[in-house]
Symmetry: C2
Subunit: 124 residues, 2 copies
DNA sequence: AGTCGTTATATTTATAAAGATATGACGATA
DNA sequence: TATCGTCATATCTTTATAAATATAACGACT
């Protein structure tokens, strides 16, 4: 039995937590990971995708991909974009998007509570 | 206003769902994604990592990485491995692991209920 | 001593994801 | 019509992840 390996302890105090991630999906394809809501909020604030991306430290390309993907899945558009014009263009978020933002905020709160409860249950 | 883009609808009926993923983490580092529990269950059933891996369609390497990572984070080992011996060796799961498996099953049930509730809330 | 199937690790090869850069279209305004 | 900043897309490069392959140690058993 001398070759039996007993891997030993890293965290004796067992600081275990239940973690998780939520998203909204459409036919199995997720379109609201962690970033998108913040991105929409920033677009609402900044008025353009490129400014929102910079504010989040994302490349425009990445930001655009997120928005485009989400936008393709909703019945009504989440954003209205305009290229050209007064200040080069810009992007507005629709009421549809605003509703989603609000829902997602409350969802996140409930989820955090869920995780907290589960962590308690795990450690008792 | 002619350059204004209105992205149009993919899913008119709005079959939105709330999806998610849970894991158990240790100091911010996750060690129980979706696969590990099933893997542990299969190890328990099969008696070896390599057989469990095959049963799940994983490479041994991947399976071992999962087990090793998890094993390093618990105070007591999740598995006891033996190389060499009667049938080449094998792996046993400890009581620690069995407890985790049981907890994780019940956790998943509660999470599914949570997701179901949230999906309802989202669509009303 | 040689065989066997497993654990454990290293090395290499593919594949995928992410990042950087470049370019054109757009339209109000000057 | 020339300029501007933004939207939108394409291409290339880099990085990270995953898969495939190879190899050594192990110990009961014959």
């Amino acid at each position: 039995m001398s070759a039996v390996t007993i891997k030993s302890l890293q965290h004796r105090g067992l600081p275990f937590q239940v973690g998780g991630k939520l998203w909204i999906e459409c036919k199995g394809k997720k379109f609201f990971g962690p970033g998108p809501v913040e991105l929409l909020e920033l677009i609402q604030k900044e008025g353009s995708i490129i400014k929102a991306a910079r504010a989040m430290g994302l490349s425009y390309k990445k930001a655009w991909a997120i928005i485009d993907s989400a936008n393709r899945m909703t019945a009504r558009p989440l954003v209205i974009t305009q290229s050209g014009g007064k200040k080069g263009g810009g992007t507005l978020v629709t009421d549809e998007a605003k509703k989603l933002i609000i829902y997602h905020r409350s969802l996140r709160k409930r989820f955090e509570q869920f995780l907290k409860n589960e962590t308690k249950r795990l450690n008792r």
